[in-house]
């Protein structure tokens, strides 16, 4: 981005002047060597396949029929955009992502505020709270499916029966809600950790000053803490969105997109089109559309990260 290499971070200081003298071509090449293996491998395994997907999206091909590859312009895009199931998958992905992110950030902020206070066994409670995020997602999905949601033996129905509600056949009657519930359980710790880091990076002097000035706890939280937390909440929401849009394990293992199309999201839709129906052209077009959508969220995410990054630098 900048012509003379800018040294950021605390490492700058004394070293910066020596480095900002224009390096020779050989010197520049030598500097690049440590970066190259990682960069080349990443390009080969991400950008080359992505170009492949773009290529397929403009060509007609079904692996089962073994047709000759034929350039078809935007026909695959037209097909996929006209496909009712694709539109359902887009809508489901939006609903799933928005609900999970909203619920988990709200819970995450609340829990972070709670954990920022001193109490007996705080580190144990923190350890308990982060565990859902560590549990292998495939395990979490199967555990919730069979031990929590089961209409007969499930613990959710047992808890509800204690207060006289139910029984509910969670996965058949409330499929999307069930998935969101399980995902919120999984992602709340992630949000909590990021917000908690934000809370603990607050300047204690400012909080003490507010207290001395007689500000009430709630006012302090709203006027000082919340604005400080904004960027951390944004980061949590954006990173969370990027990962939750990609949700595959839970759908594959709990509902397989069903009942009907009720929980069919984009990753599972594309997976099915690719590996079950072998509709290469259409699923590639769907993949390109998903990447385009992700880029929109990613631009915002990168901006937030860049801001945090500037502050650090």
């Amino acid at each position: 981005m900048s012509a003379p290499p800018v040294v950021d971070g605390r490492a700058g200081g004394a070293a910066a002047p020596a480095r900002s003298t224009t390096p020779t071509a050989v010197e520049r090449l030598k500097r690049r060597i440590p970066l190259l293996p990682a960069l080349v491998l990443t390009i080969v395994l991400t950008q080359v396949p992505l170009l492949g997907t773009v290529y397929y999206s403009f060509h007609s091909r079904n692996l089962l029929r073994g047709d000759a590859i034929e350039f078809v312009w935007f026909a695959n895009y037209a097909d996929i955009l006209g496909d009712e199931h694709f539109r359902t998958a887009v809508l489901n992905t939006v609903v799933l992502t928005a609900s999970t992110v909203t619920l988990s950030i709200a819970l995450g902020v609340a829990l972070a505020v709670l954990l920022d206070k001193a109490f007996l066994g705080r580190s144990v409670v923190r350890t308990l709270l982060i565990t859902p995020f560590l549990v292998m997602p495939a395990v979490a999905a199967l555990l919730w499916k069979h031990a929590m949601f089961d209409p007969v033996y499930g613990l959710l129905n047992w808890f509800l029966s204690l207060v006289g509600v139910g029984p509910i056949d969670w996965i058949s009657e409330l499929p999307m809600f069930s998935i969101v519930l399980m995902m919120t359980w999984q992602w709340t710790p992630f949000m909590m950790l990021i917000v908690l880091a934000g809370l603990q990076s607050q300047s204690p002097e400012v909080l003490e000053a507010a207290k001395v000035d007689g500000a009430r706890a709630f006012a302090t939280f709203r006027r000082i803490t919340l604005p400080h937390l904004r960027r951390f909440i944004e980061l949590g929401i954006l990173l969370g969105s990027i990962f939750i849009v990609q949700t595959f394990d839970a759908i594959f293992l709990i509902t397989q997109g069903g009942p009907g199309q009720a929980t069919m999201n984009l990753p599972y839709f594309i997976y099915q089109r690719t590996f079950r129906a072998f509709e290469v052209g259409e699923s590639a077009a769907a993949g390109v559309i998903v990447v385009a959508g992700t880029i929109v969220i990613a631009i915002f995410a990168l901006r937030v990260i860049l801001n945090l990054f500037r502050e650090e630098g």
């Binding site: 981005m1 900048s2 490492a11 200081g13 070293a15 520049r28 030598k30 440590p34 970066l35 990682a38 491998l41 991400t46 396949p49 992505l50 492949g52 709670l114 206070k117 001193a118 109490f119 066994g121 705080r122 580190s123 144990v124 409670v125 923190r126 350890t127 308990l128 565990t131 859902p132 995020f133 549990v135 292998m136 997602p137 395990v139 199967l142 069979h146 031990a147 007969v152 033996y153 047992w158 709340t188 950790l193 990021i194 880091a197 934000g198 603990q200 002097e205 980061l235 394990d249 594959f252 594309i270 997976y271 690719t274 290469v280 993949g287 390109v288 990447v291 992700t294 990613a298 990260i305």
Partner: protein
Amino acid sequence: MLETAPTPPASGEASHSERAAAARRRTRRPRSLGVAALAWTVGLVFFFPVLWMFLTGFKHESEASTTPPTWLFVPTFDQFRAILGRDFLPYFLNSLTASVLSTVLVVVLAVPAAYALSLAPVRRWKDALFFFISTRMMPPVAIILPLYIIANNIGLLDNVTMLSVVYTVMNLPIAVWMIRSFLVELPAEVLEASRVDGASIGTEIRRIILPMIAPGVAATALICFIFAWNEFFFAVSLTSTKAATVPVFLTGFITAEGLFLAQLSAASMMAALPVILAGWVAQKWLVRGLSLGAVK
């Protein structure tokens, strides 16, 4: 292990915050009991499904599926034996190989890359940094088909090495960002001294830098291990029998076949425990890894 959470950092600001926290503690004692009760309740609610998995894994099948749920029982190892009898071990070893191999590769590639993006920055190092994370944000489903076809053509489908390389690329952005965040915290004087000595880049990284950021590298490695071990999508798409990992083994439990909850729980425990433990150990650094080094 459980006590690792609030580590007092060594800087001046932190000791301030410690003092302030102590002051708060003194003034708010009566409230802290309510806070503790609430926090413990929520913590246990969140932990409950994991606890239940742990308990159910030690039950007989007849005790696992009951209404009301069975709380007291005589523990048995039958389910673990049954899972091992279902050829669980090869899957476990594949998971171990893919996770460890990819983690080693990630560290070997990420340390020099992070060095070239911080201490001896190449031109347009910011672009390179943002290129790395942008790849982590790309949905895997968008590249799976070409990856599958390439792997198939070069005979690397259903191959642990191939899976490890995919995991390496998946984790590189996180590792580069994280290790870089540790490198920029190094004191400049030490590096200057090593340059004056005329050490080559390789020697400088190995002899001077690596020992200083060793804890950071260990934390990065643990987080990469966690992501690789838990990965499902690439495993289920790129492997079938020879290289299948633990999450793929678990797909055998999608539909209920009679009484099987205890066995599922035992398998789940064996699948999830390594990462739960790794995560508990690494929890201090977890947030740094999850936020790509942006949040300390």
